[in-house]
Symmetry: C2
Subunit: 320 residues, 2 copies
Amino acid sequence: MPPRRVIGIDAGGTKLLGGVVDEDLVVHHRVHRTWRGADRAETLDIFVEAVEEARTAAPDVDAVGFGVPALVDRELGVSRWSTHLPLEEVPFRDLMSERLGLPVVIDNDANAALVAEARFGAARDTDHAVLVALGTGIGSGLLLDGRIYRGSRGLGAELGHMVIDMHGPDCQGACPGRGCLEVMASGSAIGREGEAAARRSPESALGRRLAAGREISGGIVTELAHDGDEVARAVLAEIGRRLGYGLVGVVNVFNPELIVIGGGAIAAGELLLEPARAVVAERALPPAREAVRIAPTHFGDESGMLGAALMALDPVVSAS
Amino acid sequence: MPPRRVIGIDAGGTKLLGGVVDEDLVVHHRVHRTWRGADRAETLDIFVEAVEEARTAAPDVDAVGFGVPALVDRELGVSRWSTHLPLEEVPFRDLMSERLGLPVVIDNDANAALVAEARFGAARDTDHAVLVALGTGIGSGLLLDGRIYRGSRGLGAELGHMVIDMHGPDCQGACPGRGCLEVMASGSAIGREGEAAARRSPESALGRRLAAGREISGGIVTELAHDGDEVARAVLAEIGRRLGYGLVGVVNVFNPELIVIGGGAIAAGELLLEPARAVVAERALPPAREAVRIAPTHFGDESGMLGAALMALDPVVSAS
């Protein structure tokens, strides 16, 4: 008998990654979408289209798992609120299940990523791990005493909206906060700081890219930093330090064994992680900082998609 | 048969409050000590003297519970590290038990306060509550999914050492952090900001108190604010706003039903809580902020002492 196959969908603030995944965690087919500016109906249509494309390649799939960048009531399958997508009070599970004719599981995108990392990835064999996913926004998941922590109404674990600079800029999207970790250290923040640095240093590789009319994204900053551009590297170092100040709080509050950093921005690797680790080593409470490792996701930026698939394969286990 | 009686000791960064407490939570006798500058041996002697004084008034006590401002390994009864007292790697439980000839329980001071508030106080009937105690430092306790959260090695729940201003001042005592909630919004911070405000406004009641040679403590600022001094009130409002930015993170990360504010500084009451609530109402994620209440401790600044006594009365229940 061939292994069971399901579809895992990881929705970020800007783009969607889907995959046909089997029980051995092999990915058979990937789909991509973006939804800059889509309204609620269009957003839901894009979810359906992505699933249908994957299903064309694998008609045998028997369930779909969705990770969405929203505050999710997992038991009811309702997306309560989202900073980035028009998914306020959407009965997502029932709506998708009806349109797709398949069983559907939904959770927060970072919780999905944590499921994959905790079961088969970097956080395997730990009971206290924190996942921070740096993308358009910052998603996060908390594994506390061996269980995923969701808060009193499933709205918790939003580490991206801890304030690390109470005099800082207003946060992104629909978040009413200021100086939140998300606005200071997300993938989008890399792009914004990169553009500012490009203007200050027009002779740098980053500056020349801007002068050539290119939009300066977090991805471009990372690419030029890997190529050796000092200005781009300084941007990543500054974002890494900000991330570090957020992680100081995470270390002192949760005393985790492991902090896993994922999301698209983890493409920057040590250029981002090393300065973050340096701030933690200098500023966190000594006994707690000595107890923690800070490592990239095992599955890169595919943790969320794989975790969504794992939820679809086994809704019960991944709920705890 | 008369009710069992035990001794509860709540040790803060500056002072100690002890009490003889019976099973009905009636306090029969209180003892007070301070230990500014005491070394490790002197600090331990003060603990013993405080217990012996209480014991003279109540020779029938059969156990002692200690809440100490330290990272505590509760199972081993060891104080690992403290920002405020010389209690690094002290096998506190065994040492005290031997000197006192009584069973001893030790926990972090804010965890002790949370035990009292969760069992009989403001957090009764909640499964998700956060206690923040504003004193010399900031202690905190986390009730998550109905259990006290301690972290992978019992070092967690240090909300006072979340960074809320990454460009802020160095933290207090032995904490290597900067812009931590503790240095920004503790009782000590009220005193420091009060002294600065007194210098800026020598004509205010606060300024006249400073000119008269008095040390400006958090308590004096609070007293003058209650008497109507606008300068003292502005100090409390600013500290309350800073507390609010810390609580924005707490609300977004834990999605608690309740945040309980205690410690000596809660004597300021609504002068501190109202501006904190205003920041949360403006800046926290809407669904999570709508789900939370922010209230003072039911037992005022005696939660820690009562909780330490409850731990001594019932070490098993209060461990969870």
